[in-house]
C-alpha cells in the first residue's frame, strides 16, 4: 500500500530498472485516460478521507497502482478501473483505521460511479480548456500570473521575463514553479467544491 513511498524514499543512487521497460503506451494511456479523471478521483477521495493531505497521498498511491497495472496490460475501462482501485485503497485504509473520516464506513456503497452515468467530470470536460486555464491564471498571485502570461502567452524565455519584470531568473523560475503546481492541481479539478 505504501509502495510509492517506499520506492520514493529509496534515495538517489538506488536506480530501478522498472521504468525503462515501460512501454510508451502506458505513459500516454495514463496521460490520456487517467489524468483527466482527477476531478472525479479527488471528489471520491475527499469524501472518504480525513483531509486534503490524506486525499492527495491517496491520489498518488492510486496513480502508482493504476500505472503499474497499465504497464502489464492497459485496462479496458479506464474510469471503472480508476474508481475500483481508489475504492480498494479506501477500504484498505478503513480496515487499518487510517486516515478515514468517521462518516465513511457506512457510506462506501456510494463509491461506485456507474460507467454509463455521466460522472461529475463530464461537466468539467464540457467547459473549454482555454476558459479553465484563463480562470486558473486569474487566481494566481499577481507576480506569478505576470510571469505565467509572459511565458505561456507571450512565449518569452526566462531571461526576457526576468528583465521585463525586473527580477532574477531564479525568481522567475519560482513564480513559474508555483504556477505550474496550481495548473497541475486545478486543470482537471472539478469546477465546483460542492456535492454533485
Amino acid at each position: 500500500m505504501v509502495d510509492g513511498t517506499d520506492t520514493g524514499k529509496s534515495g538517489s543512487d538506488l536506480g530501478r530498472t522498472s521504468a525503462s521497460v515501460t512501454s510508451p503506451d502506458a505513459k500516454s494511456w495514463f496521460v490520456r485516460e487517467i489524468l483527466p479523471l482527477e476531478g472525479l478521483l479527488m471528489h471520491l477521495l475527499n469524501r472518504y478521507l480525513r483531509n486534503p493531505t490524506d486525499a492527495a497521498d491517496a491520489r498518488q498511491d492510486v496513480y502508482v497502482k493504476v500505472y503499474e497495472a497499465a504497464r502489464t496490460q492497459l485496462p479496458d475501462a479506464p474510469k471503472q478501473f480508476l474508481v475500483t482501485t481508489a475504492r480498494n485503497l479506501v477500504i484498505d485504509r478503513i480496515r487499518r483505521k487510517q486516515v478515514v473520516s468517521i462518516e465513511a464506513a457506512g457510506d462506501l456503497e456510494r463509491f461506485t460511479i456507474p460507467s454509463d452515468e455521466p460522472g461529475p467530470e463530464r461537466t468539467a470536460e464540457a467547459r473549454s480548456e482555454l476558459g479553465r486555464l484563463r480562470r486558473i491564471l486569474d487566481r494566481l498571485p499577481p507576480r506569478c500570473r505576470e510571469a505565467m502570461i509572459l511565458r505561456k502567452i507571450e512565449g518569452l524565455p526566462r531571461r526576457d521575463i526576468a528583465s521585463r519584470m525586473g527580477i532574477s531568473e531564479t525568481a522567475v523560475a519560482q513564480h513559474l514553479a508555483l504556477g505550474m503546481r496550481v495548473v497541475a492541481d486545478e486543470l482537471d479539478a472539478l469546477d465546483t467544491g460542492s456535492e454533485p
Partner: protein
Amino acid sequence: MSEVGEASATITDARNRIDDEAVAWVERSDREDWTSNDQAEFDAWLSQSDAHMVAFLRVESRWRRADRLAALRGSVGPGAPVISRRGGGILSRLVAGAAVVLVLSGGWFALSRSKTPLTHYATTIGGHKPIKFSDGTQAELNTDSQIRVRFDAHSRTVWVDKGESFFQVAHNADRPFVVFVGSERVTDLGTKFTVSRLSDRVRVALIEGRAEIDVPDRPEISKKVLVPGDVAVATATSLSVTKQTLRDIRDDLAWRRGLLILNHTMLADAAAQMNRYNERKIIIADTAAAQQRIDGTFPANNVDLFGRVARNILGLRVTQSGNDIVISR
C-alpha cells in the same frame, strides 16, 4: 496494524517531496539551457520509482496543455500583462493562503467602511496573549501570531494574519462577528472556535455553537455549515470539513495553558509543534526517529524535557547542535 498508521506523515512528506521534485524537473526542462547532463540526471530520477513517473506525467502533461494559452496572444497586450483585474487581488490571497470569516448571529455580514482604526495584536515565539474586548468577546493569541481588529457600531471584524487565535464571542445579533483568514469566510453563528494560519494552510475548529464557512471570492466553492467538532481545512485549492472529537480539539487547545498534549503523535510532528513555541529548535535527524510515536503532556516551552523523554523513554540519541537539539536513532 500500527506500522501502517505510523507511516502517514512520512507518506505525506514523501509525496510532497516527489511532487516538488516533479515540478522542479518540469520547470528545468522548460528552460532553454537544458543539457545532456540534465537529461541524464533527470532519467536517473525518473527511473527510481513509478511514483516519480506518475508525478512527472501529472505535472508535465498539464503544463503542456497550458500552452493553449498562447491563443490569447494579442488579446492580452504585452504592456498590460493582466488578463482580468476583477477580484484578482483578493483572489490571489486565496492562492497564497486561504481565508476565514466568522459572522455571529445569522444574517449576512457587511464589511464596514468605518474609519474606526485597526488595532494590532501580536505575540512573539513562545508568547501567549489573552485579550478582552469591550463587548465581552475574548481572544487568546498563541505563539508567533498576529491579528488585527476593528470593532464599530455595526460590525466586529478580525483578521488573523499569522499563527493561531482562539475566540469566545459574545453574541450580538446587531454586530456580526467576522474573522478573515486569507480569503476564506466563516460566518459564525455560535461562540467558541479556534483559527490558525500556518504556512499556506488555514484551519478552523468549532467547539461550541454554529458557523458558516465560505470563500467569498470563489463562489464555486459552496458554503459549509460547521457544528461543534467540525474542523475546516483550507489550502490554496480546496476547502474541506472533517470531524474530530471535541476532546481532540480541546487537546489541541492545551496551548492556552502553556501545554502541548501529544497523543501517539509522530515525533516529526511533535517536534514541529514544539518548534512553533521555541527559538531553540528540535531537529529530527533521521526517518527512523521521525516515525517514533510519542505520548504525553509537555510544557510547550520545555525543549529539554522533550529531549529527555526522547532519550529515556523512546531510547533515541539526543545531542546538542549549537543552541538546538538533534534527535536521531
